[in-house]
C-alpha cells in the first residue's frame, strides 16, 4: 500500500504577505528583476528561515487575469533593521510575467512564502568542488545556493547556458560568486554568441569525465535537467534539481504539481520539492 506523500507537515513558517514593490529592473528583454519589501511583523523577520531553492507565489493584480499566482524562486534576499527584501528574477513568457514586469515601485502584491524544500548538500563534504548548472532563467534558483556554498567555504563552477547571449542575464553576479569560491563561470549559447557554441552540458560532461565534481545542482528547462541527471548517474556524481511544474496553489492544497518519482509514487513539487535529488525523479 502506498503512503500519502502530501500528508507530511506543511512547509514550515510560510505566510501570505502584502509586499511592496521597491524596484523593477529591466535587463535585456525579456528578463527583469523585481524587489519586494515585506515589513517585519511584531519584530519578526518574515523570511528568516528561507533557504536557497525555496520559492514564493505572487501576482501583479492589474486585473483578473491571470487568475492564479505564479511561482518564482527567491532569487535574492536582503534584510535590514525592520524589513526583508525579496528579489525575484523573471523572464516574460505570458500574462503572469508580463504583469510583474510592468509593476512600478509603490504597488502592492501578494507574496506567499517561503515555500517548499530548498537545496541541501548532496554529499558528505569532499575535496571536490560542485557544479551549478543553470539554463537561462533557471539561474534564478541558484544564486542563494551559490552564496551558501561560498559561505560554507565550498568551491563551485557555475555553468550558464542559454539560446543567445541575452539568456545569460545577470551572469556577473554568478561569476563573482564562483570566482570568490575559487571556481569559475562557464558559458554556452546555442547561437554561439557567448562561450561554448552548443549546449552547456557539453563542457559539463568534459569536466565530469575528468572527475572534477563532487556534486551537481541544476535548474533550467526539463531537457537540460534530465541531461544533467543522466550525466550524474553516468559519472556517479550525486546532485539535485529545482523543478518547475504548473502550480495551482503552491502550498499543497490542489495536488496539481505532481512529480513522478522512481519509487512509482508522486511527490508534490510545491511541498516535497521543488528541489529533488537527481536520481529520485522520473525524467
Amino acid at each position: 500500500m502506498e503512503t500519502a506523500t502530501h500528508q507530511g507537515p506543511p512547509t514550515a513558517g510560510f505566510a501570505d504577505h502584502r509586499a511592496v514593490v521597491v524596484a523593477v529592473d529591466h535587463h535585456p528583454w525579456p528578463y527583469f528583476t523585481v524587489t519586494l519589501e515585506v515589513p517585519f511583523a511584531n519584530g519578526e523577520q518574515k523570511f528568516a528561515n528561507c533557504t536557497p531553492g525555496q520559492f514564493v507565489m505572487t501576482l501583479a493584480e492589474f486585473g483578473l487575469e491571470p487568475y492564479l499566482r505564479r511561482a518564482f524562486s527567491v532569487f535574492d534576499i536582503r534584510t535590514d533593521a525592520n524589513t526583508t527584501q525579496i528579489e525575484i528574477f523573471g523572464k516574460v513568457i505570458g500574462l503572469g510575467t508580463e504583469g510583474l514586469a510592468r509593476l512600478e515601485p509603490g504597488k502592492e502584491v501578494p507574496l506567499l512564502g517561503p515555500l517548499g524544500q530548498g537545496f541541501t548538500r548532496s554529499a558528505s563534504p569532499t575535496v571536490k568542488p560542485s557544479a551549478l548548472i543553470a539554463g537561462g532563467i533557471g539561474s534564478a534558483a541558484l544564486l542563494l545556493w551559490a552564496r551558501a556554498l561560498l559561505e560554507q567555504g565550498e568551491a563551485f563552477d557555475f555553468y550558464y547556458g542559454g539560446y543567445a547571449a541575452c539568456d545569460l542575464a545577470l551572469s556577473e553576479r554568478f561569476e563573482e560568486l564562483a570566482r570568490a569560491s575559487g571556481g569559475e563561470l562557464i558559458c554556452a549559447t546555442e547561437s554561439g554568441h557567448r562561450g561554448h557554441h552548443g549546449y552547456i552540458t557539453e563542457p559539463l560532461e568534459q569536466a565530469l569525465a575528468q572527475g572534477r565534481y563532487g556534486a551537481l545542482y541544476t535548474c533550467g528547462p526539463e531537457g537540460l535537467m534530465a541531461k544533467v541527471a543522466a550525466l550524474g548517474s553516468q559519472y556517479q556524481v550525486p546532485g539535485q534539481a529545482a523543478l518547475e511544474t504548473e502550480m495551482g496553489c503552491g502550498y499543497g492544497a490542489c495536488l496539481g504539481c505532481a512529480v513522478a518519482h522512481q519509487d512509482g509514487r508522486f511527490r508534490l513539487c510545491c511541498k516535497d520539492g521543488p528541489v529533488f535529488a537527481l536520481d529520485e525523479v522520473v525524467w
Binding site: M1, E2, T3, A4, H6, Q7, P10, G13, F14, A15, D16, L59, L64, E65, P66, Y67, L68, R69, P110, L112, T245, E246, M247, G248, C249, Y251, G252, A253, C254, L255, G256, C257, A258, V259, A260, G264, R265, F266
Partner: protein
Amino acid sequence: MSTVDLSVKVGPLELANPVLSASGTFGYGLEFAPLTRLERFGGLVTKGLSLEPLRGNPAPRIFETRGGMLNSIGLQNIGIEAFLSDVLPGLADFPPKVVVNLFGYEREDYSTLAARVDAVEHVAAVELNVSCPNVKRGGIQFGHDPGQLEELVASVRKATSKPLIVKLSPNVTSPVALGKAARDGGADILSAINTVIGMAIDTRTRRPRLHTIKGGLSGPAIRPVAVRIVYDVAREVGLPVIGIGGAETADDVLEFMLAGASAVQIGTALFRDPMQPNRILQDLEQRLVSEGVGSVRELIGAINIE
C-alpha cells in the same frame, strides 16, 4: 459583535455561516491553518476520499484557462483510514463542520465508505462525488444516469444516517433529472456543480495540456453555468442545495443564494487567495447590514423574477 445572523440550516446540516471550502481545493483543511482563519468557515469539505489511497494522474495535472483552470488530479488521496486516524483529529479542534467527500469505483465502495464514517463523531455530513470527470472508471457513470444514481444513493442511505449530500455533474442534459434521482434515493441535500469537462492543447508541442487529455474546468468562467443549474435544481427538485462553481466574492455568494442555494462552497478562488473566505464573510456581513437584512436565510431563493 455582528448584528447579522449568518447561520444557515441546509436540510439536517446546521452551519454557523453559509461559506464552505470545496472538495479538492482545500487539501484536508489543515494545510490552510497558517494562511487563513479556518475557524471562520461554516464548513470544510475534504478532498475526495476513497477506500484505498490513490496516486492520481501523471503530470501535467492543471492548466490555467481564461477565468478558470482545468484539472485532472485523478482523485489522489490518502484513503479514508489515514484521513480518519491522522487528519480528522486535528480538524476536530476547529469549529467548522467537516464534510467528507467520498468517491468509489463500485456501488459498494460508496456504501462501505459511508458506513465507515457513520459513527465518526466529527464527520458532520457526507458528500458523494458521483461526477468526477477525471478518472477512467467509476464515479461519473453514476452521475450521468438517473437510474444508477438512485440505486447508488439508496444503498449509501442505508449505510449512514449522516446528512447525505449528492454532488451533481453539469455535464448532463438534465441536472434536474439527476437531482430528482438523488432525492428519490434518499439524499438530504444536493450540491452543484462539479467541474465542466474541458480540454486544451499546446499548439507548439501539439500535445494536450493535461496528461489525461481532458479535465475539469473550474473557476469564475463557469459561474453562470453553476448559477443556472442551482436555480433549476432548487426550484424543481425540492431539496436544499449547496452552490459551487466560480464563487469568489460575497456578491457571488449572494448570487448563488438568491438563485436558491442555502450555502456556497469556495473552490478555485482559494488558490488565488487563501484568505478569500474570510474576506467573503466580512463583506457578506457588511452587505447585509447595509441592506437591512437580519438573516442571510432571507436571501435563499429570493430572486425577483416578476
